[in-house]
């Protein structure tokens, strides 16, 4: 590719088109806001309930769990605004054979398939999560320095990439098994587990939530960044795991694409 920034420009263009399209439906913003606020109120009530019976949960204080909640909501917003819509469309395209339209375009097909859809109103959760996170950061005793803020940002980015890889790997399954719609519901169910730090789960579940479904990396690790528990070695390990998973998903994408028969027959 001659221009190194071309993929970014392409993604930005798609984002603008989706945003312009969705901005037409402004009532949806308020509906989404009401839904997000009800969800946050419920989550806060649960947190209050748990901490009315105990002072700490698996070594995490109430304010630290508030940080986990903030990251969980924020990451959930990213998933529903960016990752899930693209993957759902990919599943539909494979089933209907309309992936042809993406494959025949003069750009990388994986990039196109991953950036075509943005649901900006779902992004309300990103804002709500950021607010919860900011409140938590103020209340946590440990002062949030420049390094832990940076660690948090890097961990958040790595987490988002890992969730993307995980979703894409599952979606690529659609090249073999056509009916994949159920994974959306399955993922939503499992993602709820991320509302609590993975360290409280028993061993076998914790391993599952770390490497099979990367909830540990997506939610707990960034929250550790905010609460000053994250060390450089863990972050480097997460970066290495992310790189490996990215390479693996890329390979899987190419293999899966060879199975794709298309609609023109």
């Amino acid at each position: 590719m001659r221009e190194p920034l071309r993929p970014l420009r392409l993604a930005w263009t798609f984002f603008r088109i989706s945003a312009l399209n969705e901005l037409q439906y402004r009532v949806n913003f308020f509906l989404q806001l009401v839904q997000s606020l009800v969800a946050v109120a419920t989550a806060l009530a649960v947190l209050a309930l748990v901490f009315s019976h105990t002072a700490q949960l698996g070594g995490w204080s109430r304010d630290e769990l508030l940080a986990v909640l903030g990251v969980h909501i924020l990451m959930g917003g990213v998933i529903r605004a960016v990752i899930q819509p693209n993957m759902q469309r990919l599943i539909d395209d494979v089933r209907q054979g309309t992936l042809d339209y993406a494959l025949t375009k003069p750009a990388d097909a994986q990039l196109l398939a991953s950036t075509r859809e943005f649901r900006i109103w779902q992004g309300v959760d990103v804002l709500v999560g950021a607010v919860v996170l900011a409140v938590a950061a103020v209340r946590v005793e440990a002062a949030v320095g420049i390094w832990s803020a940076l660690g948090f940002a890097v961990a958040l980015l790595l987490g988002a990439i890992l969730v993307y890889c995980f979703w894409l790997a599952l979606t690529i399954g659609a090249f073999w098994i056509v009916r994949m719609e159920f994974i959306v519901e399955l993922f939503d169910g499992v993602y709820q587990a991320g509302r609590w730090p993975v360290t409280i789960y028993p061993g076998w579940l914790r391993i599952g939530f770390t490497f099979l479904v990367p909830i540990a990396f997506a939610v707990t690790l960034p929250a550790e960044g905010v609460t000053g528990r994250l060390d450089g070695a863990t972050l480097a390990g997460a970066a290495a795991f992310t790189a490996a998973l990215l390479a693996f998903t890329r390979w899987l994408w190419r293999t899966g694409l060879r199975r794709y028969a298309g609609a023109s027959a």
Binding site: S52, T54, E185, I200
Partner: protein
């Protein structure tokens, strides 16, 4: 109506229920794989609650409000069955029923449409219970619940899960019928289900809630469809509490049926959809 005619009518109704239930069993058993995937996905929710509260119990020296991790395990394993008994015709389905005119076809039948829903979902439950047994076995092996079930508790539980099924069917029918008046119902449903989550015992055994929440939950239907049946089997209720619970369920069934009848009569007068 003479006694003979009344007899014949009751017999016809029983026939109707038997036939629809049998159809539901056959139909849903064909989709056993999909049914199973759905049930497995549902299990993450109670497992999360169970892990959180077991952690709290251990941090408090073995029990919260007298509930041990083994008793939490019992509660949330019975939870999975009661949750399945609580699945009834969704209020979100009413919009489609009305918009696409399915209701028009249902109106042509000589029986009230609620009988079809009640019979169909009741039949489905038998498939669900059969599929649930192996899941419960696996969960029991993993989480080691402590049960102390008396014969009376077993009998009351068998009745109470069907009481729960009836109450929730009626309540969600009433909620769904709001669609006769307005189709902007999603925010209302959201609030209803949030209240249900917090006040039914779905989230947590209600004894862990503040006392005022407990008082509120006693006079609302939610607890009698969820927390009560679970506590019958997993808790330690006195025989008197068991029978009082059943009596409250009977009250809610009666109230629910009256509400369905009343709202239906008002709503159907406003109904004017396309037929086909």
């Amino acid at each position: 109506m003479t006694a003979v005619a009344a007899d014949r009518r009751a017999g016809g109704m029983a026939d109707f229920y038997r036939t629809v239930m049998r159809t539901a069993v056959i139909e849903q058993f064909q989709y056993r794989a999909a049914n199973y995937a759905y049930m497995v996905g549902m299990i993450t929710e109670p497992v999360i609650y169970l892990v959180v509260w077991s952690t709290v119990a251990r941090a408090q020296g073995g029990a919260v409000e007298g509930i041990t991790p083994g008793e939490f395990a019992a509660y949330y394993i019975v939870w999975t069955l009661v949750r399945n008994m609580n699945i009834v015709f969704t209020p979100y389905g009413w919009e489609q029923r009305i918009r696409e005119g399915h209701l028009s076809a249902m109106l042509l039948r000589p029986v009230h449409p609620i009988h079809y829903d009640l019979a169909f979902f009741a039949g489905w439950k038998f498939v669900v219970i059969v599929l649930w047994l192996p899941l419960a076995a696996v969960l029991s092996l993993v989480f080691r619940p402590t049960f102390a079930i008396t014969p009376l508790e077993a009998v009351v539980f068998t009745v109470a899960i069907w009481g729960a099924y009836l109450i929730r069917s009626f309540m969600l029918w009433v909620l769904g019928m709001v669609t006769f008046w307005t189709t902007r119902v999603s925010a209302l449903y959201e609030l209803y289900f949030t209240a249900e989550l917090l006040l039914s015992g779905r989230l947590v055994p209600l004894v862990l809630m503040p006392t005022w929440v407990l008082a509120v939950s006693n006079v609302l239907p939610f607890r009698w469809t969820f927390g009560f049946p679970i506590e019958v089997l997993a808790g330690d209720l006195a025989p008197r509490e068991l029978l009082v619970g059943l009596a409250v369920q009977v009250l809610w069934v009666a109230l629910g049926a009256a509400l369905v009848a009343g709202v239906w009569r008002l709503g159907i007068a406003r109904y004017a959809a396309v037929g086909n």
